[in-house]
Symmetry: C2
Amino acid sequence: MPVTASDQPAPSTTNPARLTRARRAALLKALADPRRFELLERIAKAGCPLGCSQVRAALPISAATLSHHIKELETAGLIDVRREGRFHYLSLRPGVLEALAARLTALEPTTCPTR
Amino acid sequence: MPVTASDQPAPSTTNPARLTRARRAALLKALADPRRFELLERIAKAGCPLGCSQVRAALPISAATLSHHIKELETAGLIDVRREGRFHYLSLRPGVLEALAARLTALEPTTCPTR
DNA sequence: TCATCATTTCGATAGTTGTCGAAATATCGA
DNA sequence: TCGATATTTCGACAACTATCGAAATGATGA
């Protein structure tokens, strides 16, 4: 892959609704992996920042792989990772999913009048 | 490819709002490719069924690759392809993007009360 | 300081996929 | 029937990525 959104300085918290082409692609790619989506679902469901290890315990996944996916989600700007001592806490970055969803639904409105 | 949603009989027009795990993943994967997304955008923008060749003319892409992406979008259930003689017409399958968007925003609502 | 635990990085591997040119198939008009 | 045009299939290649075990790093508490 030549130039992804991952190369960007990236997902500034301000202005969460504006989605670059590259950022939109990065988000979709991050979400497209089933394991990552499930991970995100768990984080979302938790509501409060979720401990890394708790996820690890609940999912049949190696630590290395989990770390990898967390980085992907973070790089895409989907989650925030608060690093506190040796524990890391994951939380959904607010507004991002909504922004993406809006972008998707924005594609729909035009319906063919002839049909 | 082991077991993806593509194997399913699948994107029945009825009940567009229910999204299987597999189907959701297939949709996201289909959308994650930049070229495919642009293709979809063009189809959406056209409103009315868009000729395959018109797309081909407007995009720097080989016929083989275009065919491949169209099949991906169709298999994912994002577009309908009406085959009419030697021309094929592409149109957005209604409701699918909305359903996916809904699924995404559904992840958001729970916000941490402590923070 | 040291053992322990959480997380990351490294290296390697297997599987997936986007891309194309060339060949095949299909449809139409002459 | 024949040639032209539209689309698909085939075969191949390069790039990417999910995955893991092992080793490294970092932080804590004894």
